[in-house]
C-alpha cells in the first residue's frame, strides 16, 4: 500500500443550527466562540485547518477569518461539506470536526490520529451511546470521495449511514462525553454547566487535584488514583465531569465525598492540590 495521504483539518461550520435558533459556531464557551475553539483545537494537531461553509456564509466575518472550503455540493448537509473538501484537494485526507462538540479534547483528536488506518475509507470513534460510528469527529481518507459520490447518487446523505456501510476503522472512545453534541438551547445550557465555571466566564483557573478511587468507582474508572487538571469549582462539579468521562453509574445523591481525608459538603470550594475521594455506599461489617 502507498504511504498515507497528508492530513489537513476541516471544521464543519455550514449547519443551519435550526433547533438551536442561533448559529452553533458562534455559541460562546469561556469567552470564546465554538468556531474559534475548534479551529484552535484542530490546529494543535494538523495544519492547515479549513472551515467548511455554505456559499451564503463565505462572507460572514467570523468564518471569513479562516481559510474556507465552500460547499460545491449543496443541500446534502455535512457529508456534502466533507465531499467538497475531498474534491477541492484530491490526495488529501481530512481530520473532520463538527462545530457542536463542546466537550472535545486534545486527547480525543490525538487518539484518532494515533489509530488512523489510511487503508480504510475513514477512521472514527464508535459512539459511547450506541456503538455506531461518529462521522463528525473522524478522519476521512481520499479514497472515500468516489464512494460518497455513489452513496449520494442513491439519494442518501447521512454520513453515519455511509460509514456503517463502508470500510470504516472504528476505535473505542476513552471519554464517554467527549463526542456529545448539542442541538438545543437546553443542551447548550447544560454544556455550560458541565464546563463551568470556565465556560460561564467565572474563575477560569485550571487547578490540579488528586483523585483516589475505591471499590465500584475504581472499577468503573479503571484506576485507583490520578492527578488531573480541572476547572471544577466544587466536588459536585468534579463528580459531574468525571461521571461523564468514566460513565459512573451511581448518581451523586448516593455518594459522599471526602476532601483531604475528611468528609466534605458537595459545595465545598476546591483548592489546588486538594485530594478528593468519592465514597459510594459503604458496606462494612
Amino acid at each position: 500500500m502507498s504511504a498515507a495521504a497528508p492530513i489537513q483539518g476541516l471544521v464543519l461550520a455550514g449547519g443551519a443550527s435550526a433547533r438551536m435558533q442561533r448559529d452553533k459556531a458562534a455559541l460562546v464557551y469561556g469567552g470564546k466562540s465554538q468556531l474559534d475553539r475548534v479551529v484552535e483545537l484542530v490546529a494543535r494537531h494538523v495544519s492547515p485547518v479549513f472551515v467548511s461553509v455554505r456559499p451564503s456564509q463565505s462572507g460572514e466575518p467570523a468564518r471569513a477569518r479562516y481559510p474556507l472550503i465552500v460547499d460545491s455540493i449543496q443541500g446534502k448537509g455535512p457529508i456534502g461539506g466533507i465531499r467538497s473538501a475531498l474534491a477541492a484537494q484530491p490526495g488529501v485526507a481530512w481530520l473532520v470536526v463538527a462545530c457542536d462538540l463542546p466537550f472535545l479534547t486534545d486527547e480525543v483528536l490525538a487518539g484518532l490520529l494515533a489509530e488512523r488506518a489510511p487503508g480504510a475509507g475513514a477512521t472514527a470513534y464508535s459512539s459511547a451511546h450506541d456503538g455506531l460510528p461518529e462521522p463528525l469527529c473522524a478522519i476521512w481518507e481520499p479514497q472515500a470521495g468516489a464512494e460518497i459520490d455513489a452513496f449520494l447518487g442513491t439519494g442518501r446523505d447521512c454520513p453515519r449511514k455511509f460509514l456503517i456501510n463502508h470500510g470504516v476503522h472504528l476505535i473505542e472512545p476513552k471519554d464517554r462525553r467527549a463526542l456529545d453534541n448539542i442541538n438545543t438551547p437546553e443542551e447548550y445550557d447544560r454544556a455550560l454547566d458541565l464546563l463551568a465555571p470556565a465556560a460561564r466566564g467565572r474563575g477560569t483557573q485550571l487547578m490540579q487535584l488528586k483523585i483516589q478511587y475505591f471499590a465500584l468507582m475504581r472499577e468503573q474508572s479503571g484506576r485507583s488514583e490520578e492527578t488531573l487538571e480541572t476547572v471544577a469549582a466544587t466536588p459536585a462539579d468534579l463528580y459531574a465531569e468525571l461521571q461523564a468521562r468514566y460513565g459512573f453509574t451511581l448518581p451523586r445523591e448516593q455518594l459522599k465525598v471526602a476532601v483531604n481525608t475528611e468528609f466534605a459538603p458537595w459545595s465545598r470550594p476546591l483548592a489546588p492540590g486538594d485530594a478528593v475521594v468519592f465514597i459510594p455506599p459503604v458496606a462494612g461489617g
Binding site: 464543519l12 455550514g14 449547519g15 443551519a16 443550527s17 435550526a18 433547533r19 438551536m20 455554505r54 449543496q74 443541500g75 446534502k76 448537509g77 455535512p78 463538527a98 457542536d100 459512539s127 459511547a128 451511546h129 450506541d130 455506531l132 461518529e134 463528525l136 446523505d157 447521512c158 454520513p159 453515519r160 464517554r176 456529545d180 453534541n181 442541538n183 483516589q212 475505591f214 471499590a215 465500584l216 472499577e219 461521571q243 461523564a244 460513565g247 453509574t249 451511581l250 448518581p251 448516593q254 471526602a258 481525608t261 475528611e262 468528609f263 475521594v277 465514597i279 459510594p280 455506599p281 459503604v282 458496606a283 462494612g284 461489617g285
Partner: protein, 166 residues
C-alpha cells in the same frame, strides 16, 4: 493504640479481649461479623473488603469515642478485616468492657451499627454463578437512570437532521 483498627490477617480475638481487661469491669460483650454463604438470593463464595483507610480510621475512632461518651463503659475496641475472606471468616470484631452487662451490650450494638453505616469500607461479594457485586452499590445504581440514557439511539442523527435543514 487506636481503638479502631484494620488487619489483613485473621482477627486475634484473645489478644483483643485482653486489651479490654479492667479491675473495675464486671463484664464484657463482643460481636463478631462472619462471612455468610448467601445474600439477597445469591449464593456467596467469598468476599473482598476494601477501605479508604485514612478516613476510615478517623471515622471509626470517632464512633468509639462517641460510644464511650454515650454509655458508661470501661474500654471499647473494633477490628475490621480487609482483603479476601472465605465463608465463616471473621470480617469484624467489636468488644466492650463495663461495670455492668447492660451498657456493654448497648455499646457493642451501637458500635457495630455505626461502623456499618459510616465507615468507608466496601464489600464485594463473589457468587456461585461467577458474578460479583459491590454490596449496596449495584442495585441503587441500576435503579437510577444514567445521564446517557437520556440520549438513546438517534442522538447523533439529530445532528444530521439539524444540518440537513441547510
Amino acid at each position: 493504640m487506636m481503638r479502631f483498627r484494620f488487619t489483613d490477617q485473621a482477627i486475634d480475638t484473645d489478644a483483643a479481649r485482653r486489651e479490654l481487661l479492667d479491675p473495675g469491669a464486671g463484664g464484657y460483650a463482643s460481636f463478631e461479623g462472619w462471612v455468610r454463604n448467601f445474600n439477597e438470593g445469591q449464593e456467596v463464595t467469598r468476599l473482598e473488603y476494601e477501605a479508604f483507610r485514612e478516613l476510615a480510621l478517623k471515622e471509626g475512632e470517632r464512633i468509639l469515642v462517641q460510644a464511650m461518651a454515650r454509655f458508661p463503659v470501661k474500654h471499647a475496641l473494633c477490628i475490621h478485616r480487609v482483603g479476601s475472606l472465605g465463608l465463616s471468616d471473621m470480617a469484624v470484631w467489636v468488644g466492650v468492657s463495663s461495670a455492668h452487662r447492660g451498657e456493654a451490650f448497648d455499646a457493642c450494638r451501637f458500635i457495630i451499627d455505626e461502623v456499618k453505616h459510616r465507615v468507608p469500607i466496601w464489600k464485594k461479594e463473589h457468587y456461585r454463578s461467577g458474578d460479583s457485586g459491590w454490596v449496596n452499590c449495584e442495585r441503587c445504581a441500576a435503579a437510577a437512570p444514567h445521564d446517557h440514557d437520556d440520549h438513546p439511539h438517534g442522538h447523533r442523527h439529530d445532528h444530521d437532521v439539524d444540518v440537513d435543514v441547510a
